[in-house]
Amino acid sequence: MSHVHDHDHDHTPPADQDGPLSYYQAMEGAVRALLIEKGIVTADEVRAAIEAMDARSPALGAKVVARAWSDRAYKARLLANGTAACEELGIDMGPTRLVVVENQEKLHNVIVCTLCSCYPRMLLGLPPDWYKARAYRSRVVREPRAVLREFGTEIPDGWQIRVHDSTADMRYMVLPRRPEGTDGLDEAALADLVTRDCMVGVALPKAP
């Protein structure tokens, strides 16, 4: 079995069965084995935690956005208390304190964690590599338009951009604006227009 990796970092570790074991992979294996031997974790718990994380994906966030687009009262609750509104839809947010920031007619929001990689994982799954890397973290607070342009997103001059830096206990999701021409769409169809990138704020939702 081989994986095609679209990356050009030579420090990115190979998939588990490809190539020799790296020092840090051996460290992971050893720490895990010792913790299991000491009864601190079990192999089942490790497996379950991985499965739980794998089950989280931007589809959860898309469901929230689609509901907010369809239900004005829900949207108000979402903006007032992001965590509670997600839990209303059966999404387990754990200890996450979610703040949802709303794109408006001439206001665009974008999320970053300049200090590390804080991200609403319980809602969107694991963050993409670029979100955690130097270029994005350094530049999006200072030149958001240029960075968004690199994602193919052009924010018109007359709009304001607000960058949210997740420096402490809150986590963020952008509520994009509902695209034009979507009046007849049901929630499932609306959710299909919502990408991870538009909930981070580096893109706009897809057109219908």
Binding site: V99, R142, P144, R162, T167
Partner: protein, 98 residues
């Protein structure tokens, strides 16, 4: 009891201590406006070293105009950055703060 309320002008302490600090360098010494009180949380600077970080203290979201943060910012006025900052990093800013 939170010291600041939404709308209050505040200035970030202009100090650079070592340690685990969650107030990024780019806002140190800068003036912004309280956008909201997030709640009470333990101090990450202490949690990072295995201590309990108590007492809980207010965490705020503070809005900074981009023009205030970067002398050469080339976007429109009204572009902003919003950052979570703990109360102990903030002082009241005067109306005519430099």
């Amino acid at each position: 009891m939170a010291r600041f309320s939404p709308g209050d002008p505040v200035q970030v302490q202009d100090i650079r201590p070592p340690g685990h600090i969650r107030t990024p360098l780019y806002v140190r010494g800068k003036t912004g406006t309280i956008e909201r009180i997030c709640g009470l949380f333990a101090n990450p600077e202490e949690l990072a070293f295995g201590r309990d970080g108590l007492p809980l203290r207010p965490l705020y979201r503070v809005q900074f105009e981009q023009a205030e943060l970067w002398p050469d910012y080339d976007g429109p006025a009204g572009d902003a950055v919003e950052v979570e900052i703990f109360e102990h990093w903030l002082e009241p800013a005067g109306r005519n703060a430099p």
